[in-house]
Symmetry: D2
Subunit: 155 residues, 4 copies
């Protein structure tokens, strides 16, 4: 049980992740309250998400100018569990929690060096056509790749 | 009806706002996809939220070093309805949608110059003690101020 | 006399400016030292520079995809005279201090609400061709526009 | 010979560096011109400078609240030699080019994966007292540390 809407069982949810991106809190990302500014976690989520897509060999196509498909962020959210400070090293875990027809629900989890939960998050990514602006269905190849590195989800 | 979890009825929800902060999209806030980078909307939300708190005379105390009370972000989310581009002028509306004992659920709405809905969002702010790290109940004066500029909520 | 290499006489230099862009220090732009992070002044310079170019009617062409000419930053520098803090309102002055064949030396000056000097800066902007990557000479129309709002320079 | 004021001989200057900080260009650091936004290089310089100070064991004291000494940026500049793009891996070299009584002139050099020069820069850092705001002389221990990892400078 959890009071975060997108997490049913926290321990089971944590087990669904395997891919992570290591990130260190920059000084320029802190604010006058002395901790990581709340807006910067989404920079970490984006970096981790892109590294995740790269690890699946997906990012290259979306960055190619000739390619009609592009990905956009439909929504994004973060729960701040534990404050982060300058120079902390965290692991930002990412996975494809639920894969729809044209979108994917990406989940995020950040742990500090002691393995303590600092951030949880999620957000929907949609594949659209640059020309029409309309959603484009994922190819089966893409779906297979996204499914490949999840440990267990929604079984 | 709306498919955004924190908005029951979109038209009614839009009517709850009165305070807004005008913001212009900076070039340094765009990304290589040619539009506003998804992480920057939370910078706008923070700026609008602070201007809202300032308009209620609340920000000054929280910024005073001697003051024990500080506010922290518990969670934050955004739904991206319409892409934003360099130099667009938007109005970021803010209000205190639900006021708890030690926290407040702030809602956000960004409209472009044509009045079209571009972003919706919400996030919980908690007042805590710098010394103990524990939540601090709002004073009645603060609650009254937050209630003052809402049009109609939770009636 | 001045110990800043690009300013010969500070009082005379200050007199060369007329255009300015009003900017307010955002909370997310402060850092754990409690003041404006040093990297953010260049965000202000860029915003002020773009507003300056817009005021001359120049920005539109450079932002048009079909247009071959684009402007790039060749160098940039800032002298930090006085610390800036959250919520300070500053005026960032901009002018075209020296106009070359394909480049322009833009100068910057930031004053706080008391009119005190907080930042000085300069940087060279070059017009290049997107296709060839080579510098493109300014048209006479552009040179005239840039000269128009300088008060007196180099006479 | 070089047309950059703080570099007398480029090849000799490059040889003065040994310490570097590896950095990868984030997507959120690009802009609508498709490349790294000019303001973000100073984020890299700050990260590299801090890693450099940490490598010398100096950063910890400056980050301690009880410590009266703090470092501030007096000036900062960058020459943009070669555009950088999303996902490029660069090495940002740092050294203490000239050590004054209360300040130090830090130089920066960024190379891409092919070893090509992308950015050069410099900036003066001053040690001041938090209480008085006045410059504080470096201790001999600090001077020795800063001198230690330079290859050869100005002898």
């Amino acid at each position: 049980m959890s009071n975060i809407s997108y997490i049913e069982n926290l321990e089971e949810w944590k087990e669904t992740f395997s891919f992570y991106c290591p990130i260190k809190v920059r000084f320029s990302e802190t604010d006058a309250f002395g901790h990581l500014n709340n807006t910067k976690v989404f920079v970490y989520f984006e970096e981790a998400r892109i590294e995740y897509f790269k690890s699946l060999g997906l990012m290259k196509d979306w960055m190619t100018k000739e390619n009609d498909a592009i990905i956009v962020t439909a929504d994004l959210q973060c729960n701040y569990i534990r404050q982060l400070f300058f120079d902390e090293k965290i692991k930002v875990y990412v996975n494809a929690n639920h894969i729809g027809n044209t979108s994917v629900d990406i989940h995020y989890m950040a742990l500090n060096e002691s393995g303590e939960l600092c951030l949880t998050g999620r957000g929907s990514i949609v594949q659209i056509s640059k020309q029409t602006g309309k959603p484009l269905p994922w190819s089966e190849a893409i779906i297979d790749k996204m499914k490949s590195n999840r440990k267990k989800i929604g079984v």
